[in-house]
């Protein structure tokens, strides 16, 4: 079996213990090198351990005492590069500032994530969950070996020595020696078989707020993102791609563009045209001066209504069964009340602040790429394939990412930049304009969900039926992950609900929309499913004339951690306390990415139907917390990302073209619109859950449920449409 499902009540709640494989060697320059394996997650699914051990992470303790960690995850704002060194530093007994982090070079055989179909990637709120145990174990192993090496040199018992601040100490003789001086000796010693990890109460670093290591360079302009790459003789290009997906370039009149000062060259591709110039100002001016004719191709008349209609029709047929509990068909016949609803969520763009860009230098026998990517090995592979060069002739330099949110798990931009660079002499930086970035994104899929439920005489659910259709990203992105009509991401948040539902059936139909590409987006599967599940749960509470918090709580007897976050969020939010006319509170609860989270949103709806989210209270149980400051920052950011989507987010098609172009038509939340956000962390010693994404999926139904409380209007289609909420 490729996947090993971790269920909330069995493994995660009882604690997870994994065997960690290690190997040691002498590091270049005479230190100690420890190699070990880090696992990967997608959603709350963990990859099976492979029987053949190939290390994909390394700790190197140099002869100078330096500690370097090489590992296959990237920093894209989520604070991973700060949290990960904390785990090593804790067990190795060194200061956090002593640990240097190095990003692994592209090598799918070694660093590939088996759950991503062997792709070397960072995503799915996975990094901390994956490294929690192995990194501490590796740190502890290195410490024990360094102590043993020092003890051997001093001819004392290792048990009479201890480690502190990067040194081994023999207390009785008051001798101390730095790690660097014994690292070479330690490399000759056997790896200890058993290593005891610190108990949570012994932690000095883990669980304390730590400063981000990357912050100083980000406040003074010296941090280098992909778009900031400088090279001798660097040219800059910008591009126009067929406005209809699948269209072709028919003709280009470039006379006016070539006359623009600084424009060097026009590059024609099958479905795109690029202007190469001395600087981006000239490239943009040149692009605007092009007269381009497109052949729009097969999707020339496509609209969102076509896609929605297909999904609506498709969901009349049964889908692949994602989860089946009891007998829904039988149970529904006993129902006193029946509730039915159709939900729809739109395509969404990523709109990361750093527009898509990629710098490429194609030479006769080699190719160099400079890019900020969540999938560096895939970037290398597409450059090799596009140029026809062998993989080892392609070098990829990875850079800081100005917002990932899933966009930089795709390599379409690298492919395109290489295609252009093949026509250019010397290095060229290809920069997407914001319009090009939004209109040629790969989008969070449109989904349509049919919900039906039956309630007993007490108003409690005895049947829960959920059938939905939409794109499977994993089926394209990592085909081995798609089996029997299902993939673990798309159904995440729709199955294994925290609630006790005696009869439940969840079905999924993979339906790929024509003429619009789809991709991962912050919150992935749950960004859709949690909105539907938690809105519908709210509908059931309303049908039963029960309080939304009390109704949910009554279904959580067997899920104490879920119950606790719900209770905490409700208490801190002042659930039940009166609010002014036109205001309301809404709640949402979820268990996704290994993290329990409840949010209460407080909204205000104006006479014109404008929605203002005033306050959000979030209670989170993500197990052991490595860096509480990061948890708070990630929830704040994820909530703002989700509120943007709930209130404004939608990508629509007209005549096959994406209608949104820039931040005026693809609106996102601004500072004056941001709610106050309180984050309450439930402290425990369970294995850590993911934190990058849960906040985004939970906030959306909390907001729409609050709108229902404020106005009595149930919103089943996103984004919120003020026209629907306007007072009559």
């Amino acid at each position: 079996m490729f996947f090993d499902r971790l269920t909330p009540n069995s493994v995660l709640e009882s604690g997870l213990s994994r065997r960690v494989f290690l190997m040691s060697s002498v590091a270049a320059g005479g230190g100690l090198m420890l190699g070990f394996g880090l696992p990967f997650f997608v959603g709350d699914v963990m990859a099976d351990e492979s029987s053949s051990f190939v290390p994909n992470a390394f700790i190197r303790i140099g002869g100078d005492g330096s500690v370097t960690l090489t590992m296959p995850y990237v920093e894209m704002g989520q604070g991973t590069y700060t949290s990960i060194p904390m785990l090593i530093a804790e067990e190795l007994e060194v200061a956090l500032s002593q640990v240097q982090l190095e990003h692994a070079p592209p090598d799918e055989k070694r660093y590939g994530n088996p759950l991503f179909g062997g792709v070397q990637g960072t995503g799915g709120s996975s990094a901390i969950r994956a490294v929690w145990e192995p990194l501490r174990q590796a740190g502890a192993t290195a410490r024990i070996m360094l102590i043993a090496a020092a003890a051997k040199r001093w001819k004392v018992e290792p048990s009479s020595c201890h480690a502190e601040r990067g040194e081994v100490v023999h207390k009785t003789s008051e001798r101390r020696i730095g790690y660097g001086a014994v690292a070479g000796d330690a490399a000759q010693l056997p790896i200890p078989e058993k290593v005891a990890l610190k108990r949570p109460e012994e932690f000095k670093l883990i669980g304390t707020p730590a400063k981000r290591l990357d912050a100083p360079s980000k406040v003074n302009g010296t941090a280098i993102y992909g778009i900031d790459v400088k090279l001798p003789g660097l040219k800059v290009a910008t591009l126009a791609q067929s406005p209809v997906f699948g269209g072709r370039l028919k003709s280009v009149d470039d006379a006016a563009a070539k006359a623009v000062k600084g424009v060097l060259q026009i590059v024609r591709l099958d479905d795109a045209v690029a202007v190469v110039a001395d600087h981006m100002g000239a490239a943009k001016k040149g692009l605007a001066a092009l007269v381009i004719q497109w052949d729009d191709g097969p999707h020339a008349t496509l609209s969102i209504a076509d896609i929605a209609r297909d999904l609506e029709k498709g969901t009349l047929n049964p889908g692949a069964v994602a989860q089946n509990v009891g007998d829904v068909a039988k149970a529904i016949t006993r129902a006193v009340t029946k509730v039915d609803a159709i939900y729809q969520v739109p395509f969404l763009a990523h709109a990361a602040m750093e527009p898509m860009n990629c710098t490429v230098h194609v030479r006769k026998d080699s190719c160099e790429v400079w890019v900020g990517s969540q999938v560096i090995a895939r970037a290398q592979a597409t450059a090799a394939k596009t140029t026809g060069l062998p993989l080892d002739k392609v070098v990829v330099h990875n850079h800081l990412i100005g917002g990932g949110f899933g966009r930089r798990l795709e390599i379409d931009g690298v492919t395109r930049a290489v295609q252009i660079a093949m026509h250019v002499d010397g290095p060229v930086k290809v920069i997407w304009t914001r319009e090009e970035d939004i209109q040629h994104d790969m989008y969070r899929p449109y989904f349509l969900d049919r919900m039906s439920a039956g309630l007993d005489e007490a108003g409690m659910p005895i049947a829960w039926n959920h059938r939905f259709a939409g794109s499977s990203i994993l089926a394209r992105w990592a085909p081995p992950a798609f089996n029997n009509g299902l993939d673990p991401d798309t159904i995440d948040g729709a199955i294994n609900l925290p609630y006790a539902l005696p009869n439940l059936r969840v079905e999924y139909l993979r339906m790929e929309p024509p003429g619009i590409p789809t991709a991962f987006w912050r919150g992935v599967g749950p960004s859709h499913s949690v909105f539907v599940v938690e809105s519908f749960m709210d509908e059931l509470a309303a049908a039963a004339k029960k309080d939304p918090v009390g109704y949910r709580r009554a279904l959580l007897d067997k899920a104490p951690r879920a119950r606790a976050v719900l209770q905490l969020a409700a208490e801190m939010a002042g659930w039940g306390e009166p609010l002014p006319q036109g205001s309301g509170r809404g709640v949402a609860l979820q268990f996704v990415f290994g993290t329990y989270m409840a949010q209460v949103a407080e909204v205000e709806v104006s006479q014109e139907g404008e929605v203002r989210v005033r306050r959000v209270v979030c209670a989170v149980d993500c197990g052991s917390v490595v860096n509480p400051d990061t948890v708070q920052a990630q929830v704040q950011g994820a909530v703002i990302f989700g509120v943007s989507a709930a209130l404004f987010g939608q990508v629509t098609l007209k005549g096959g073209r994406v209608e949104q172009t820039n931040f005026d038509t693809y609106r996102v939340l601004r500072m004056n619109e941001a709610p106050a956000i309180e984050v309450h962390i439930v402290k425990n010693t369970e294995p850590p859950g993911g934190m990058g994404e849960p906040g985004t999926s939970a906030i959306v139904p909390a907001v729409t449920n609050a709108i229902f409380a404020a106005t009595g209007r149930r919103l089943r289609t996103l984004p919120v449409d003020p026209a629907e909420l306007k007072h009559a």
Binding site: H279, G637, D664, R670
Partner: protein
């Protein structure tokens, strides 16, 4: 047409069309990549720089419009008292995430604080709502501005 502009205290002669946005002169001609491209239409604030101390969007400012004005970018904002306080507050309150928009956020905040040592929430809204952050650092940015203002007040009292 060669144009001379003053950036971070030094004069630079650049040979570009007069309607070239200042942003691209800074980034691609002068190599000052701390100022970021986000939208090209003065909608997101990532490209914010100071023109004689006032925050402007360099993506919508033709270089020929700069004239004799002093351009200050993120690379030199620590030469101003308000800039230093804002940068310090940004680190103290751990504002940054991906960091891409932060040059622009800091430039807008520095201009605000320089002109208004005790901004209230609506002053902050007015000065900062043109700066988009997709990581959602707004709450900490707001607190950091207040923190910087408090620090200035404390220094003022000591002095």
């Amino acid at each position: 047409m060669a144009i001379t502009i003053k950036v971070n205290g030094a004069a630079h002669r650049v040979d570009v069309d007069g309607d070239t946005p200042l942003l691209w002169v800074l980034r691609d001609v002068l190599g000052l990549t701390g100022t970021k491209f986000g939208c090209g239409m003065a909608l997101c604030g990532a490209c914010t720089v100071h023109l004689n101390g006032a925050a402007i969007r360099s993506c919508a400012m033709p270089v020929e419009g700069v004239g004799d004005a002093e351009v200050t970018t993120i690379e030199a904002i620590d030469t101003t008292a308000a800039g230093r306080k804002i940068q310090r507050a940004w680190l103290d309150l751990e504002v940054v995430q991906c960091g891409y928009c932060q040059s622009g956020q800091i430039m807008s905040a520095s201009a605000l604080l320089a002109g208004n040592p005790h901004p209230n929430d609506s002053d902050i809204d007015a000065a900062m709502s043109g700066n988009i952050c997709r990581c959602g650092t707004y709450l900490r940015a707001r607190e950091a501005i207040k923190h910087a203002a408090k620090v200035s007040a404390a220094i003022g009292k000591e002095g």
